[in-house]
């Protein structure tokens, strides 16, 4: 599929492929028609995390060749982070072709601008993934991040992306390390029209992490555990939509992950609060909360495609994607959208504990010992 190589000016004109997960039938349309696909009592749940400029230049004591550090997830406090290191080069070079970073070990120091960071550990998943503690206060660190940082860039995009290119129209706290891109085309005009249909809109905040690291072993382990916050209001909105037989529609895979992860950690019920989600969704995963998904165009083999297979079998999805490919749909962060939405609510409302919790514990999770697990 062709790449959308820059943000487009009128997102309502972008395309929307509607897929019925039960039958695999699909319909071609414009994003402006999203409200027509929804009905009274449906609920859209968005990720309201704004995007941090997570790509930072760094150097070692004896090496200052344009190295790059990407923040990958916050650790146990505001100055402790998981980060992925990249060798010299910039966004013109696809991530997988970037030279490896210099070898580092626990106890080494790296510098981001004037701030030093102590390497606490190197992950067993990849020598590029390190846990670091910045030797500065949070205020000073964010000052440096906003001064030196850029949004994570993509080699298929034709120009450098500015911070405003990677924000949604409703982003608040800058927890996301790459843009929660499914929500990118949702303008307030569109959201207001959705509301006029009697559809509710609620938010959670999910610290969406990196989409690529340049190391196949690490890429295979994505997404890494991510923190999220699920407000009481949103739990109530989901319960109310359920009661009225409305469908719960996640805007973006990060929302599916937060909601299903929260339910899985709480015996099938949602509990407001914050936590870390390590659930990785895939084919055959029984959804407890979410009925539908608004997302980008994702090709087989990606973790996003695997997540879509929790909604619709790959075999039913492929003809739709093939249609999109041959009819000019664009993919990636600034690409077109797909709506996987069944006629009726399908997610289970599990009352009893799950018999076989469909959880995948990444090795990284064990190392997040200091991070509180999803709060009950």
């Amino acid at each position: 599929m062709k790449n959308a190589d820059y943000p487009r000016s009128r997102s309502e004109d972008e395309r929307l492929l509607w897929v019925d997960p039960r039958t695999g039938t699909y319909r071609d349309g414009a994003l402006a028609q999203l409200p027509d696909r929804l009905r009274r009592f449906d609920l859209l749940v968005v990720n309201d995390a704004a995007t941090l400029p997570a790509s930072l230049p760094f150097h070692l004591e004896n090496d200052s060749r344009g190295l790059e550090l990407r923040l990958a997830g916050q650790g146990q406090d505001e100055v402790t982070w998981w980060a992925v290191l990249f060798g010299p080069g910039d966004w013109h070079i696809p991530t997988e072709h970037r030279p490896a970073p210099p070898k580092v070990a626990a106890g080494d120091r790296v510098w981001v601008g004037s701030i030093s960071a102590l390497i606490l550990e190197v992950s067993s998943l990849s020598p590029r993934l390190v846990r670091i503690r910045f030797e500065a206060g949070a205020e000073q660190l964010y000052r440096e991040i906003y001064q030196l940082g850029q949004p994570v860039q993509y080699s298929y995009v034709r120009r450098n992306l500015a911070l405003w290119d990677v924000q949604t129209h409703y982003g608040g706290r800058p927890w996301a390390l790459e843009m929660p891109s499914a929500g990118r085309p949702l303008t307030w005009d569109l959201l207001a029209r959705v509301r006029e249909k009697g559809v509710s809109i609620a938010a959670l905040t999910h610290a969406a992490g990196l989409s690529a690291t340049g190391d196949p072993a690490l890429d295979a382990a994505l997404p890494l555990p991510e923190r999220y916050e699920l407000p009481e209001r949103t739990v109530a909105a989901i319960a109310s939509a359920r009661k009225n037989h409305g469908r719960i529609i996640a805007v973006g895979t990060s929302v599916v992950r937060a909601l299903e992860g929260n339910a899985a950690a709480n015996e099938g019920r949602l509990r407001a609060g914050s936590g870390i989600v390590d659930l990785v969704l895939g084919p055959g995963h029984a959804l407890n909360v979410v009925d539908g998904l608004l997302t980008g165009m994702h090709e087989p083999g990606t973790s996003h495609f695997a997540l879509m297979e929790a909604f619709v079998s790959g075999a039913k999805l492929e003809p739709a994607l093939e249609y999109a490919d041959t009819h000019g749909y664009l993919q990636h962060e600034f690409g077109d959208s797909m709506l996987l939405l069944p006629e009726r609510s399908v997610a289970r409302t599990v009352k009893a504990p799950l018999s076989r919790p469909p959880r995948y514990r990444s090795p990284l999770h064990e190392k997040c010992g200091a991070i509180p697990a999803a709060r009950a």
Partner: protein
Amino acid sequence: MKLNGQGIVITGASKGLGKALAFELGRRGARLFLVARNEEVLDRVVRSLREDGIEAHGWAADVADKDAVYPLAGAAQTALGHVDVVIHNASALGPSPLRPLLDTDCEDLERALAVNLIGPFRLSKVFAGSMAMRQHGWIVHVTSDASVSAYPTWGAYSVSKAGFDHLARVWAAELDGFGVRMLSVDPGDMNTDLHREAAPADDPTTLLDPEEVAERLVDFLETAEAVPNGARVSLSEWRAPRWKSGDALATSIGGTRS
């Protein structure tokens, strides 16, 4: 509006009314993120607030600088979490000393518009989306009587403030259903740097003290739930008991009530 525990962003907070508002809001339990151009002066204000036990964070930025907007908003929301209130208090006079429009450089008008109108628009745009999603938020425009009266030589400042007032009204008309409230407040003529710059000959003893104005303005904000969304309020005409009666205000201050 309850102030205790609220996350509040104030621009132009290193001196004058902005600084006085910071102390007054802080005393009433608000958590503050303060913006001003002069980092050194701002740091002193932040330190002194903290000495009083007030949670305060400082961020040096020019509100007219397009590139400063997302960093400012991001830093504010890492420091405070959700932002509940934004007070657009930073202001630029335009040409200094003041002069008739025929003698006003276009660049002076542009600067006044950048600081007094476009900067606040950009900043509101980044905060109001998240407020609308949470169905909660206040945005306060600090305005001036020059926005309604045509005083000779005040042209650049006047038109920027007139646009600023109307910006609040249009925001309110669009966002009223989303729980976001906009107000314009005219604090009156105060003994501040901006007034000295505009009218150096004025006797400072005839001018309002910014600290007293801040106290009144904060009193007003505490009861502002009753004020229609988008209203423009002249602080000198505001009387607390009367104003609590809600709807009677709508006609007198010309806001939109939806």
